[in-house]
Subunit: 400 residues, 4 copies
Amino acid sequence: MSVHRGRHFLQIPGPTNVPDRVLRAMDTPVIDHRGPEFARLGQEVLEGLKAIFQTRSPVIVFPSSGTGAWEAALVNTLSPGDKVLMFETGHFATLWHRMAKGIGIEAELVPGDWRHGVDPAAVEARLADDRSHAIKAVAVVHNETSTGVASRIGEIRNAIDRANHPALFFVDTISSLASIDYRHDEWGVDVTVGGSQKGLMLPPGIAFNAVSEKALAAAKSARLPRSYWRWEDMLANNQSGFFPYTPATNLLYGLREAIHMLLEEGLPAVFARHARLAEATRRAVRAWGLEILCLEPREYSNSLTAVLLPDGHDADRLRRIILERYDMSLGTGLGKVQGKVFRIGHLGDFNELMLAGTLAGVEMGLRLAGVPHKSGIGAALAYLSEEATADARETRAMRA
Amino acid sequence: MSVHRGRHFLQIPGPTNVPDRVLRAMDTPVIDHRGPEFARLGQEVLEGLKAIFQTRSPVIVFPSSGTGAWEAALVNTLSPGDKVLMFETGHFATLWHRMAKGIGIEAELVPGDWRHGVDPAAVEARLADDRSHAIKAVAVVHNETSTGVASRIGEIRNAIDRANHPALFFVDTISSLASIDYRHDEWGVDVTVGGSQKGLMLPPGIAFNAVSEKALAAAKSARLPRSYWRWEDMLANNQSGFFPYTPATNLLYGLREAIHMLLEEGLPAVFARHARLAEATRRAVRAWGLEILCLEPREYSNSLTAVLLPDGHDADRLRRIILERYDMSLGTGLGKVQGKVFRIGHLGDFNELMLAGTLAGVEMGLRLAGVPHKSGIGAALAYLSEEATADARETRAMRA
Amino acid sequence: MSVHRGRHFLQIPGPTNVPDRVLRAMDTPVIDHRGPEFARLGQEVLEGLKAIFQTRSPVIVFPSSGTGAWEAALVNTLSPGDKVLMFETGHFATLWHRMAKGIGIEAELVPGDWRHGVDPAAVEARLADDRSHAIKAVAVVHNETSTGVASRIGEIRNAIDRANHPALFFVDTISSLASIDYRHDEWGVDVTVGGSQKGLMLPPGIAFNAVSEKALAAAKSARLPRSYWRWEDMLANNQSGFFPYTPATNLLYGLREAIHMLLEEGLPAVFARHARLAEATRRAVRAWGLEILCLEPREYSNSLTAVLLPDGHDADRLRRIILERYDMSLGTGLGKVQGKVFRIGHLGDFNELMLAGTLAGVEMGLRLAGVPHKSGIGAALAYLSEEATADARETRAMRA
Amino acid sequence: MSVHRGRHFLQIPGPTNVPDRVLRAMDTPVIDHRGPEFARLGQEVLEGLKAIFQTRSPVIVFPSSGTGAWEAALVNTLSPGDKVLMFETGHFATLWHRMAKGIGIEAELVPGDWRHGVDPAAVEARLADDRSHAIKAVAVVHNETSTGVASRIGEIRNAIDRANHPALFFVDTISSLASIDYRHDEWGVDVTVGGSQKGLMLPPGIAFNAVSEKALAAAKSARLPRSYWRWEDMLANNQSGFFPYTPATNLLYGLREAIHMLLEEGLPAVFARHARLAEATRRAVRAWGLEILCLEPREYSNSLTAVLLPDGHDADRLRRIILERYDMSLGTGLGKVQGKVFRIGHLGDFNELMLAGTLAGVEMGLRLAGVPHKSGIGAALAYLSEEATADARETRAMRA
């Protein structure tokens, strides 16, 4: 195979392109994790994370993948045999459910078609049925990385409230955090699960639990065995900026820089940028004549788009052609949509021209793979330049 | 406080000074963890780790601190209520014991004075007593990071064999791996626990389990709940260089470079270098008129030296003075030796002149702190230049 | 102004996007420039540069910009009052001419329209006229960075030969080296001037003279004062890999890596890649309905394209809009084409998807700036995917 | 030869150890050198350099080694045949003299013994003799890198004034800038020559001219040919933060960071640190029983110390042994002291413990090389801890 030159396009829905500022911040000598300089680092990132999760509650940082933070959410709050309500929104929701069952939780999985988010009405109905309050927690994936469908967390919160049900509310924001608006406090979430390698623009290696008062209370009586994931020691040590075991120092350096970058841009601007790039992507998909996996426009994900290929076309062959010819990685179809779907990640440290390169790569790949399509990049560019014009008009108006 | 210039001396017993080559290797864009380039990376590091652990068995890599790898060793092989024999060699052995108890294991802790390693005879006696083979595992810390005492793993293996006992054998090599000779296969260890941030010269963030056939067999019937730490999915995915959940890619880049560096130098040379620098340190300590915590010369650690201060002198005050005046971090006394002991890390990417700077910093600190002592650095330098002479003589002899 | 996220697109015709591998190579501690490790570095890069210039003659490396290497070519070979024949191909040829006059050379500038390269017939005619061989040197800019016109060096060589004229032949390859085929030896060039920051993919800071035997002979009698630029001391020191004064060590680290990358890809593949991306760019320009500054297709530059805007449209306003809205830098019109022309750099560490992003940025910018145009990116993508198809067909044919 | 591990000790008197912060700053994508972001960078570093040179006059930055800045000082201010008064303080003063002669200046070299600085009385006497004011400039090397002797620039200024002579005053501060107190304005220097790779803690590759009003006036009538080194275009472009030819952007990134670091520490603290480390070095040399090349205590250099070996001992053999055994580079004896002298660089990003490692390496090397000596490092450490005590006492007093 020929040698590739220029940048690789990493357009899987995470890990995402890590900005140079973050890589450079990580490229720094390790310091004593029990010394005063570390304490300042620890306190700064723990405080900064609260802004990212939109919470006043503590956020716990584990040296782990996001999978570990899933486990932490469960083992800190639940006891063997506890009932948890989960929803089959896609591959990751399914894996979380499998994990819960594997560690002794009685997890119910409400079936889904992988093309819709969690239905708030269904949540309300199921909880209303649960008169005995046997269900201890409702666990939802905010943005299904396998399908590009974003569930409406605020409305699900309202559904739980309408059912007047005391269940804990767990939300996985691994592929939505710092990309799609997410409000831990306002939406009354008890444990938010997050990871480093998506909207936070870091390499993988640390993961998060934002933890409400109610969750902390639940932890007191929860009886699932836990040690590494135990919140109590973490929170006690975090008070002074330290950790109960050796933290992943260099990833924390990167985290500090990433938080700076996000707050410098401002979360509303971060979300607007993701929304704009996502909409441009969807316009390109439609112009190509291909189908977006997500069927419900108000559930479109702004961090990735999963695209269905016509019958008889193998999405993984397309992905391989694009990787070989244009040095771009796209997301594979996971689980039951394997081979049928490819996923375009458009999150993290990403902008208009990178998206144009991405869409160009897909479009040229469709041609090489012989997938019938029309040109689509023009539709994306038209939208993006209209948005820029509107934006300019607004800026002028504001200044006037 | 004044601004420090020049390099910080990170002489805690880990995390250690990360070589520039490793930091630079990590300062590289993330790649698709499901793509072909990643598969090559994964296979290379998984294979290379075997050389470091001196094993043909698989080595599992977790995105976690070493604490997580402790937990993994236990939950993969044991069931609730299983008996494990542990030894109070110091702070970390005590923590591992506490973890075991916390997750439902009946862990027995043989008391110790924190100045000796595990006594092979005591192991033999205790196991010989255990006629019913109630003890399922013996767990030993190879090099106690809190005391600078290295237990004799080969001899303990022989003790187990002499007792003809089927217990699994677990060894924590977090602060010995790639610094002090360690042989997973030859010493019949079932689970070796390792970490990235000491002799491996990486930042913290990944940890290891080297796993024998016998341990894998035990995993089949072990009933402690596990998900994140589960070996089975790891091993299945590792076959092709992949991982069941998102790996800490950039730390794996660093790991690849670190393994290259270790094999380039050669493990015997790595061990000899650590032995030489450790002996020079001990000579300085003795010349200062201070006491080495470890009482048994054949148990001296080659990765760190814990030094006792005379009564009435606070080791943490000394450490603070040295940090403020000379920008060097030393290890604090942990647990019951807090304030009495300071620890000099002399492991990892380390050499004669860095050691001289380190010992100079301690010596000047002793002076500033008013701790009575004689000059000691001369004794270290004398030893190191004799070693260099001997080495040169040998090289000439070999060439002749 | 809003914060930009994602990569900046640096599409000026140099400095170009420095690959991470090169930046990382430079991010390495400095070494003793008189020690054995440096000698190996020096010899490696000096040897490697010969491959890049396609020569067996020595290549001299100055810590300087390309401007310094212009001066070096002149002061090493000429004496005050010497006649040199130069050609007004654009801004940089004009600057080189001004420099020559400024240091006491009688430099003749053959006028040009900035839309054509040097006419070999004109060279032949002018030299044939010079019966007395008063002209000591002919100096040509291979690729005019200000216009995107590449002169035909091989044909100019033939023209000199046909005129049977002994003049030295100087060629500036600052923006063609390692992007457009260039052959120092085959084309009988006496001094080739090169720089680091274009096709060589390095930051600016070092520049080159490749020097023929004939040029070295000329240096013996040349009487222009020179010290820093003096070849003799350089060549004497370079024999052993050293330099007469402190070299720019870290740029040499980068140079070593850049040479590795170029030879890894292979110069023919490097040139083919640049040709392909340049042709795609020109197709987009034509589809937009805009005019390419270069009028002669066989003189199209493969490293940049200068584009004329219609009357009444300010190219610098367009560039400013694109910089502000899409975070892309394009080249300004220099000298007499200022405001009329913008330049797209498509050289160095560059590929299809980066080009697509670049062309998208121009196209959206044209829209925002109100410059009349049709969509053009589709034409570029069509060409690029045809090329990929042809390429794939060829690969299959070769394997069969 | 065996593989070295741990940090190389780069203790030549420059290039010096580049701090990680500076290396990381340089490890950043290149930007458009004609764009607004560059203008901010340019203005910031040009302003910051004034603080470092202690001047309000402009400081010019060349992409070149320090040798280039020597040439720039001469060609901008002088005409062919002009007389310049120079002083043979060592190797570099000799080279500067040779350069001056080589480019057509009538340079007089006052002989010296390489063990003393310039004698202010001799300057006064020579200038007083020059009734016709034939001497156009006096050129002095502030700190002779080859000998470790620092001339007294302020006193030389006074001598010129006492002679009432209008000569320009040129000072080379390549190895003193940002290490030893130097005051361009207060000492009435007309051109100060500086480089990046010593006290400024950067890699080599850029060099400086700080230029007085009087020097600028002289430039108007100076007739030596010049183009690359020409101040006029530089100053005109620098007004807006730009440069007349492509600047060495990534070195400017590093320069910005280095200036931040120097001002953060404060120049007085920088000078005090260098003085302290230099005095400790000299105490070690004396304790070893070796001779410091510099004979005049008030001319001791605070950036390096040149040490004489006893007759019959080869300094380069010693250096080779130290490099091979202890991975430390020391400066060679240059010119007429070759083989007799080695030089210890103790400047730049340097501190007490790095110095201790350095002195330990020399001391162990002396032993291996069989050079008779007593132990010396103890004397250095005693001095350094006394200084720390005094410093602590002072701090307490100031707080009280």
